[in-house]
Symmetry: C3
Subunit: 135 residues, 3 copies
Amino acid sequence: MESRVLELTTGRSPAVIDITLEVSEFCQGRGGGLVSIFLPHATAGVALFETGAGTEPDVLMAIEDLLPARQGKWRHQHGSPGHGRDHVLPAFISPSITIPVVDGRMTLGTWQSIVVVDTNVDNPNRKVRLSFLAG
Amino acid sequence: MESRVLELTTGRSPAVIDITLEVSEFCQGRGGGLVSIFLPHATAGVALFETGAGTEPDVLMAIEDLLPARQGKWRHQHGSPGHGRDHVLPAFISPSITIPVVDGRMTLGTWQSIVVVDTNVDNPNRKVRLSFLAG
Amino acid sequence: MESRVLELTTGRSPAVIDITLEVSEFCQGRGGGLVSIFLPHATAGVALFETGAGTEPDVLMAIEDLLPARQGKWRHQHGSPGHGRDHVLPAFISPSITIPVVDGRMTLGTWQSIVVVDTNVDNPNRKVRLSFLAG
């Protein structure tokens, strides 16, 4: 298995970061297999959705509806006010996804982008582990 | 890796489509490994739950609770009224899942079925990529 | 692919069970690859989040917000009152996750634990299938 770690800056506000290009480059020149995108973090998730047409803020709004960053709501009380909800996020938006690769290209649909969803305002630097398992 | 694409008709209303049989057939005669079920679509997800006892409408109701198809709520405004929520769906119900296979049979529990969850009323035709990575 | 089944007792109330140690031991002495954690159950999910600082009850509260165990709300009506929601849970918290393994060690972040999330009060005994696909 080939594996390497990508470094990302997600900043100090809730963010959706598109990493499709980086993962595509990682897969180039490999044959068929599965690519694993894995975040070694407890307050972020990885997802596949359309970017550039409003879905990024829509996803952050839906997260806020389900997991409001309201002080006092959450038992976990470290970090910035409301940070407890960031720790619940990966239960709903998992930090791990796999995507099939055929002839060195991910089999994504036209409107799918790979994104890191990071509501945590206390940790602006993130890692993403990319691994390729040939089949 | 063996990979092929299944074609589905999901229709013009929110739908839960059971594909367990198709995936089982795809795995038959293979040894041990992982089967990947992957939707190349930005407005649908794949899940494992019980079918035939009411959970299909229950899941669609829970999606409506979290992501109401209400015009004006969503920034994404293409398509039918409320379609913006369909683009948020795959952040919560991922379009990718893997299932272990032993001796050509998925290791599903008694009550688990593989389903495509598709709230998008604008796209009645869907593809599902099945891939088998032998181990 | 190496695969084995772990037995768990999750008890008769909603529970979050940490299985990080068991999965770590399963991966020891193997090289690089993907470990699959798979629940053959229709009313539980597997997730990665921090344990020991309040997130376990926070996740159970968020599940209750989204999927209240209220009799009459759910179409699925077998089992204890409100059990219908347990069947919706795996649509949102999947029973399947994969984690990259390098040199026999999972590449988890410092604060990530592997947990089984089980809201079902009717089934206190659970199985977890661990599978290792070498790469």
